[in-house]
Symmetry: C2
Subunit: 138 residues, 2 copies
């Protein structure tokens, strides 16, 4: 897998991924950026959310769970000194659907966390990652 990124002045960068998508990144105006795109550390959390989100949706589909919606909120704390990596990451899933069982959700989240999610496998070496969920059956 590869990506390319090029500098667009000040602290803005434009990335192109191997799959052909473009993403603009930028820093906060407080540190000299112009907020033209997300911060690199935000992208790290987006990457984690997308990874575990795709895992759990795939697993629940295989289990024929009637999933109608999934939202994931991630909150993270950073080290006070450089390098300011994430020390704790809290992943909260909200599943919406019909007759979704606690047991199926628990198994899907655990399979992602322990077996499939490549992103959490990398980030959990530095950060303590917690996973919790809500189920909203209609």
């Amino acid at each position: 897998m590869f990506i390319n990124i090029s500098w667009k002045g000040k602290l803005a960068f434009e990335a192109q991924t191997e799959s052909g998508h473009r993403i603009l990144l930028d820093a906060d105006p407080e540190v000299g950026g112009e907020d033209k795109g997300p911060r690199p550390m935000e992208l790290l959390l987006v990457s984690l959310a997308g990874c575990t989100g795709m895992d759990v949706v795939s697993i629940l589909k295989k289990k024929r769970v009637n999933l109608e919606g999934l939202a994931i909120k991630i909150q993270a704390e950073r080290a006070p000194q450089h390098p300011k990596y994430f020390t704790t990451i809290d992943v909260e899933y909200t599943f919406r659907g019909k007759e979704i069982k606690e047991e199926d959700v628990k198994q899907a989240v655990e399979l992602s966390k322990d077996k499939y999610c490549s992103v959490s496998a990398m980030l959990q070496e530095k950060a303590t990652i917690s996973f919790r969920w809500n189920i909203a059956n209609q």
Copy 2:
């Protein structure tokens, strides 16, 4: 720092970052996605490139280096089994400008790698990350 992501059907997700930017993620059609956005693991590499890119641009600016362009290419290999995290990551910078000195570039890259870059601090626990550079003085 926080981000939210919501499921958009099949394997697509839309993220919103704390800074207010939206990013669409998707999987490859081979695994059931529709390629509406980049893959989560690509975003991890984009995050790394943006993080170290912003660091080195800032450091070279402080050193009053006449930098006119910077491109970063990242190539990475994944583990063969789940979780397929990155085992090696190769970061290659191409600096373009006038009278850019090898010494300044080396110091900027090393400061990012060893001190400032929060993303590489997290990923280097699982992946061996190598950093190399080219300087194109005009």
